[in-house]
């Protein structure tokens, strides 16, 4: 293992990265692409088996749609039920360019906002298509019985979200993700009932199987019985979510992992822009060392809450006793036009900044106030309760503080990962036959995701994109007959077993979590809200050391022959320990600031993110070499035809 990742990665002007975009004008691109794609007749579809890993919005919607079209599907997920995929936790809402509010919204505006919000690091054609199908998603979900919020007259209700200037966010109280996922889950279960979907819950994909260079299956562990199983398909869909848990503390569910993506990466799927992570500004602060998970408070709180810290770091008065003159409403001060509503990355970075200045509040000093005093004075407590009652209740449940009386304390937390496996316009990765959907791919959000757009993307990919584009693979390639006995399956299975045995054989004295925490802390400090050349360099030296200690000191009791949650966790942490290195390398190589990626070396005089379009207007796609060896960088240059590149400003 080479200890030091070289700063300048081997680069290749890529001929591998064919985006397969249709070209021409964006408005007609998707229609033209669909028209040009091969078809598979309904009675031929049943000859194919599609393997779908993951049952979040992306996986469940894809499986339901494909099965309904006549394909045979095998669907697996880690949880005991597909309904528990991490998508269930999304709160705020889902965007769609319906223009129901008559505020002059359009597909183009949604597209533009998404591209701009992503700081011009996403592919135009993908993002445009996302905006284009967004309306159909809402129709589909309503028809499934998703109980969206409604107006008195019975029509669907919308709200503004994340600083958007139009109200295009559809929501179901504070549980939009839950309701959308339950809709997709019900559609999936209908296909299970019809016998078109074989459901494999409590399965963790531990390797990808390629036959003749084409993705033809996965090796998975049955998390209940411990069995190692082979699953085959004519195409494999990875819908396995994001890798935010590389930071240990995040708002992601505990089982969220990079394992599926990482194993595919090791088998040849490039990973794009891994350093693009989103840090959400309004989360409940860390309370202590035993904390296992961070909780998000919906961004909508910033509509009425005012963010502040005391002007002086020595001011230890209780918030109510701090007079107006001694408070610093720093967002309002620095960004007079957007104020508390600046985008997530800006809000997060500023919170970190004031805390770094020693002005953080609360026992940890790593928090800022989100104060509703003025809003309550203005609108009355009842109005505030009607708007945020459930959020206030959740806050009180966790902190035992009453936010009607005391300002909330919030701090940024890792929330979403824009980076992911590289895919082309068809959502196919660099491994033929391997499609990647939802948060697991890198495609639509560039360097920063707008609120309420991840749900949209997951469902767009699953309901409306992959069901068509998969035909390019199935009809376009000659596929050998599926054979689970093929040596490729044998080799992958042996690799998986070997790895589990190695983990169990360490028999050290430290818990898995202790390594995960250690890695997470390092990542947070050096690859979190702001990043420096020096910090990343240190990080790149630190990660291999932690990895080495892990493989020498981790203690996993029991065996692999039955349910063993520690073993599951260990496998995921082991993969994070490899993945993190690539992520840091990506962050180091991109010496510009863009979206959620803030390099301190690259900022304007006012301390705002400074993009460098001349050097970094590309997608960085990494090709795996070997563990501990720097990965090979491939670049997909981004062309902007429909939008003008501009520096974001929220002053």
């Amino acid at each position: 293992m080479s200890k030091k990742a070289s700063k300048k990665p081997a680069t290749e002007k890529s001929s591998i990265l064919l985006s397969n975009e249709p070209g021409g004008d964006l408005e007609t691109a998707w229609a033209r692409h669909k028209a040009s794609m091969k078809l598979i007749a309904p009675n031929n579809r049943r000859k194919f088996r599609i393997l779908i890993v993951g049952t979040g919005l992306a996986g469940a919607s894809a499986a339901a749609s494909l099965a309904e079209m006549g394909y045979h599907c095998t669907v697996m997920c880690i949880q005991d039920s597909p309904r528990r995929a991490h998508s269930i936790a999304a709160q705020g809402g889902i965007n769609a360019a319906k223009n129901y509010k008559n505020d002059n919204d359009s597909v183009f505006r949604l597209f533009y906002d998404t591209i701009k919000g992503g700081d011009f690091r996403a592919r135009e054609s993908n993002t445009y298509r996302l905006a284009e199908v967004s309306g159909s998603i809402i129709d589909q979900c309503v028809a499934q019985g998703v109980p969206f919020a409604r107006e008195y007259g019975g029509v669907l209700s919308n709200r503004t979200f994340g600083g958007a200037q139009v109200a295009r966010t559809f929501y179901a109280r504070g549980q939009t993700g839950q309701q959308l996922l339950l809709g997709a889950y019900s559609a999936l279960m209908r296909q299970v009932h019809e016998g078109k979907v074989e459901l494999k819950a409590r399965r963790e994909m531990l390797d990808l199987v390629k036959v003749d260079g084409v993705a033809r299956g996965v090796i998975a562990r049955n998390l209940q019985t411990g069995e190692i199983e082979r699953f085959g398909g004519d195409a494999v869909l990875l819908c396995t979510g994001g890798y935010g848990n590389v930071f240990f503390l995040s708002t992601n569910a505990k089982a969220s992992n990079v394992t599926a993506a990482w194993r595919a990466h090791k088998r040849g799927a490039f990973m794009a822009n891994p350093c693009f992570t989103q840090i959400h500004p309004t989360c409940i602060p860390v309370h202590g060392d035993d904390q296992s998970k961070l909780t998000l408070m919906s961004e909508s709180l910033r509509n009425d809450g005012r963010v502040w810290v005391p002007k002086s770091g020595d001011d230890k008065r209780s918030p109510a006793d701090v007079p107006e003159a001694d408070r610093d409403y720093y967002l309002e001060r620095k960004y007079p036009s957007f104020g508390n509503m600046v985008p997530r990355d800006v809000a997060s970075r500023n919170a970190k900044q004031v805390c770094d200045e020693g002005r953080g509040v609360g026992p940890s000093q790593l928090a800022v106030y989100l104060d509703f005093r003025d809003a309550i004075e203005r609108d009355g407590e009842d109005a505030i309760r009607a708007r945020y009652g459930n959020l206030f209740q959740m806050y009180e449940k966790i902190t035992a503080e009453n936010p009607y009386k005391v300002p909330m304390r919030i701090y940024p937390a890792v929330h979403y990962t824009m980076g992911g496996l590289w895919v082309d316009y068809n959502l196919e990765s660099t491994v033929p036959g391997l499609f990647v959907l939802g948060e697991a791919n890198f495609s639509d959000h560039g360097a920063n995701r707008l609120g309420a757009s991840a749900l949209m993307q997951g469902l767009a990919d699953g309901y409306f994109v992959v069901p068509y584009t998969i035909a390019t693979h199935l009809a376009g390639r000659k596929l050998s007959k599926l054979d689970l006995g093929h040596e490729a399956f044998g080799e992958a299975e042996a690799a998986v077993r070997g790895r589990l045995d190695r983990l169990l054989a360490v028999k050290g004295d430290r818990t898995v979590d202790s390594f995960h925490r250690e890695l997470g802390l390092q990542m947070w400090d050096h690859c979190g809200m702001s990043r420096t050349d020096e910090g990343l360099g240190k990080l790149l030296q630190e990660i291999p050391k932690i990895r080495e200690r892990f493989w020498n000191e981790v203690r996993i009791l029991g065996d692999a022959n039955y349910m063993n949650p520690e073993l599951e966790k260990a496998g995921r942490v082991a993969d994070y320990l490899e993945f993190a290195e690539m992520m840091a390398a990506d962050a180091l190589h991109r010496s510009e600031s863009c979206g959620g990626h803030f390099r301190e070396e690259s900022q304007t005089a006012e301390g705002e993110a400074l993009r460098k379009d001349d050097k970094f207007k590309y997608v960085a796609a990494w090709e795996f070499q070997d563990v501990g060896k720097p990965e090979k960088l491939h670049k997909e240059t981004l062309e902007f035809k429909a939008v003008e590149l501009s520096q974001r400003s929220y002053k």
Binding site: V142, R150, L156, Q175, H193, H287, M563
Partner: protein, 254 residues
């Protein structure tokens, strides 16, 4: 806020696997901060067990914010613990007193066999859902979302029913291990919405049939389910299902 810490005695159900007999084991949880969650407390106990070389306690969890429905066990006879409308992952240690003894047991029901320690197999819920818990709409065939106006109140009621997280606490709390609240909530959500009408009769017959086939008990109207439900789902949804079932049975003789 320097709150003092708690010392607790835990009596936890330990069971190697589905076929082995289980027993209660006693553990001490020391110096527990009242600000941590119940699952974080178990994490700490588990760290101690691992250090000692003993198999850590298996319990299910994922989101740890009360929405995925993965977590759940019984604490002193209360599904998800003593707090109302709270999952165990959201339950904080400040709800307990120093020196307390806590009995921690898995959901108990024939239809939810124990897999290991506090983890049970709830796939019966998935099969009930598959037996009719959906609206048959082909992807892409949906009319515009605003074609079907739905009054705010009705939409709200449907939402109340749809809020179920499928945790199984209702079954655990019911003296008959009945799944009526879970099934009633799903049946109700669709029964309340215009989209759900075409398949309304078949749905309730199918789901109730599957519920019985899974070996859940019948309801004797104890209303314990609703009290234990972390989402406060009302027993009025059970009543709606009863009504619907009666109506559907009369209409659909076979």
């Amino acid at each position: 806020m320097e709150a003092k810490t708690l010392n607790l005695t835990l009596k936890v159900w330990r069971q190697e696997n589905a076929d082995s007999p289980g027993r209660l084991e006693t553990y001490e949880a020391r110096d527990i901060s009242p600000d941590i969650s119940f699952l974080e407390m178990l994490d700490m106990v588990n760290t101690g067990l691992i250090k000692k070389g003993a198999r850590p306690i298996t319990f299910e969890h994922d989101c740890r914010e009360g929405i995925c429905g993965a977590c759940g066990f019984v604490i002193n006879g209360h599904a998800h613990g003593p707090d109302r409308e709270t999952t165990v992952c959201q339950l904080h240690m400040r709800s307990f007193r120093d020196g307390q003894t806590l009995y921690i047991e898995p959901w108990r029901a024939k239809a939810f066999p124990v897999i290991q320690d506090l983890a049970v197999d709830r796939s019966a819920f998935d099969r009930i859902q598959a037996a009719g818990g959906y609206i048959s709409v082909h992807t892409g065939s949906a009319p515009d979302g605003n074609c079907l106006p739905i009054g705010q109140e009705r939409a709200g009621e449907a939402f109340d029913a749809a809020a179920c997280i499928g945790c199984g606490a209702c079954v655990a709390a019911c003296k008959n291990a009945s799944a009526m609240l879970f099934v009633g909530a799903k049946v109700s959500q669709f029964a309340l919405l215009p989209q759900g009408q075409p398949e309304r009769d078949g749905r309730v017959l199918g789901m109730v049939g599957q519920m019985d086939a899974e070996g859940f008990g019948a309801c004797t109207n104890e209303f314990e389910c609703s009290a234990a439900c972390p989402k406060g789902i009302s027993v009025s949804h059970i009543a709606r299902m009863n009504r619907d079932y009666l109506a559907a049975s009369i209409k659909k003789q076979d």
